[in-house]
Symmetry: C2
Subunit: 430 residues, 2 copies
């Protein structure tokens, strides 16, 4: 199953891709050296968009679900990468506590959890599930709807450790991005490794910090490999203290949209791109891209109806949005089976371990595809992300995937830098 | 392409396999802890034989060729494993010098070298080829016969370093097992990493040391996981100062055969195996299993004709054999496409990265398959070596391959222990 690049890829982007392929050995060394200085998040998924004239990450998820949508062929890579990660954090680990997303009980999510557990167990760990829900008093068995069940147990604190009644883990793997705040039960866990750290959750994390770190990482990479960083980055502006319903700060958001569209138009002209740019307004803290609004004109915001404002104000999990990021929009030129598609790349530790296309047949190339009705087409991503085929043309899917793997790893490196910069105890990073 | 297990697997071996599958998470942790104490060889290939009542490694090659026979699907695993290895030895490595086997110029070997280079380049290394041949005065281009050529260059010493005229590598990867002795040009290279170390070459290495280390590793593993270590080991005896032509020491070899056959018969009775055991007599130092003689009766040796003695006396690369290992023979019950087959498992660092079946249609199940006329059937080994399918029966190929991966890694661990024990400077291992 290969994507259909219905629209041509621009000459500069083709040059860029060719350049990356030719430099692949140097690029791998560049990453190797970067990973000496920065610790990758335990796992991540990176949403990419390929506009035909640029390829950029639009979301870097540090609590990925969707492991069930990876091709089975790529599982050994995930196991091997997880082995390397576990060895780093807790080499004699026997027990791992996995904390699922408390808000998700759907069959698909449970399948992802099971797949993730399979990977972790195969690294030599006993895996059990714990819940941060203080209301959970006794173990509960969740029915996955396919005959299998998942036992989720209440967390138990013991001094600076957390575990289950009869289970003392070495590491705790969070699969809940904590939008509602830091759970009391996980505070001051000093004797165990929390993966990723608590400040990776949306209670503290901000997209603006990630994209700022990404801009810097991409700038360094682009300088090293001699290309225009705009080919892999997007302009963005952060707006805080916005009250979409009351109207406070909406003017600032509209002005930010104007500025982003102006910058994008200038770049489009510079690169000879004959189309109208758009901006997206997204919650600065929040998952899944829900609440992403594409805007082609700042007047759209200024003239928004009360109902539209209400919609903008409610972000992921219903939390009121008072901080937004206005970002240069990146349309996608890829289609799979006639549906608009965007690649999602999965990493464990520093390694690309797989990916899939997120496909939506009811959405346009400018729109957010992470929405009800989407489906997933696993791709044999891993092979090509590691091994470009220098004998094939740059347009060949194998080589495009290598480029995707590089851009996704730039986002991963940015997440590592972001987590260092936002760590409440920066002394840990010497 | 799956092997045909024409003959039934015995009940005890089935129990053993089931036991390993059930304990897979604990087994992976056991290996994780072992690799904290022991450094795996950079790469290896392990020949296994499955007799239907036992599965044992018969050769652990520390300078593997045959990378071209691995399935392409498993290459990303090899790249990822090589990344982990390079990071350990030389994290900022830019250049790697690969020293091919000086005696091999055949197309198949050159394909293997190219594949190995592809893997290494994808970890971010520049790879060039150097020759230990002191007679080579200038670079020589070797024709692989398929339009591609390989440039092999003379080594250049600079103090405690070795490289090429314009190439200063961080690591030197040997793919020559040095049966003829240690090349002068590689002596006292103290400022670079030699992989594997020089004493892994047949100039110093002895099979008896490997099998002794393996017996100890297997004994510990079997005690931990509660099974009879004979299911994965073979009895062996070392005989030195043997002169097959002159006759000196041949009696000792014959006595060793008697002893091994006696031991094997006792074990066969104990396990209810209704067949006659055999022994193999192999050179204690040497590659490829050439010179492996199956013996069913010590009288075979005592009565050997001068021509037969002459054959026994000439080991790999024509070197006279004066040290042998007499080992319990392991027939193979596996067939692929009607040919007798044995699995070969490849590792890089601590990871299983692929494998294939060595198949010979003209040889019997008791015989050495590593002989002219053999062919290779790549297998999607990697997936199953990492991920047993607990939903499938133990007879399922996927699960058998997991077991093979475990036994191969025991041999790998034994090689690590062996190289520590035989290191000329043991203080390095603290």
């Amino acid at each position: 199953m290969l994507p259909d690049f219905a629209q041509a890829i621009s000459a500069p982007l083709q040059d860029f891709e060719r350049h990356l392929l030719e430099a692949s050995a140097r690029i791998e060394r560049w990453f190797r050296l970067e990973w000496q200085d920065h610790t990758p998040p335990f796992y991540a998924s990176v949403d990419l968009r390929n506009a035909g004239f640029k390829i950029a990450p639009v979301d870097t998820n540090l609590f990925p679900a969707g492991f069930d949508s990876l091709s089975e062929d790529t599982l050994p890579l995930a196991v091997q990468a997880a082995m390397a990660a576990i060895e780093k954090y807790c080499p004699d680990a026997r027990n791992l506590l996995l904390i699922p997303d408390a808000r998700r009980r759907d069959a698909r999510y449970l399948r992802s959890l099971r797949r993730l557990s399979t990977i972790l167990r195969q690294t030599g760990l006993r895996v059990r599930y714990g819940s941060v829900d203080p209301a959970l008093a006794s173990p509960v068995r969740i029915d996955a709807g396919d005959g299998e069940t998942l036992l989720v147990e209440p967390l138990v604190r013991r001094g600076f450790r957390v575990g289950l009644a009869d289970f003392d883990p070495c590491s705790i793997l969070l699969n809940d991005d904590l939008p509602a705040g830091l759970p009391e039960v996980l505070a001051n866990v000093h004797e165990q490794v929390l993966l990723p750290p608590l400040h990776a959750g949306w209670a503290l994390r901000r997209k603006s910090r990630h994209f700022a770190a990404y801009a810097e990482v991409a700038r360094r990479f682009a300088r090293q490999f001699d290309f225009d960083p705009w080919l892999v980055t997007t302009h963005f502006v952060e707006c805080s203290e916005v009250d979409f319903v009351g109207g406070a700060g909406v003017d600032r958001v509209a002005a930010a949209v104007d500025r982003i569209l102006r910058q994008a138009r200038a770049r489009y002209r510079e690169h000879g791109i004959d189309e109208a740019p758009f901006a997206v307004v997204k919650a600065n803290a929040g998952t899944c891209g829900i609440g992403v609004t594409p805007v082609r004109d700042a007047a759209q915001l200024r003239r928004a109806s009360p109902a539209e404002r209400q919609a903008m104000a409610s972000g992921p999990s219903g939390r009121a949005v008072d901080e937004v990021v206005v970002q240069e929009g990146v349309r996608t030129v890829e289609t799979v089976d006639g549906g608009v598609a965007e690649p999602v790349v999965y990493t464990i530790d520093r390694y690309v371990v797989g990916g899939f296309y997120r496909v939506h047949t009811q959405r346009g190339p400018d729109e957010n595809l992470n929405a009800p009705g989407m489906h997933f087409v696993p791709l044999p991503f891993a092979a090509s992300c590691h091994l470009p085929d220098h004998g094939e043309s740059v347009e060949h899917a194998v080589n495009r995937f290598y480029v995707y793997g590089v851009v996704a790893r730039l986002a991963l490196l940015a997440a590592a830098v972001e987590l260092e910069q936002t760590d409440p105890d920066p002394s840990l990073y010497g």
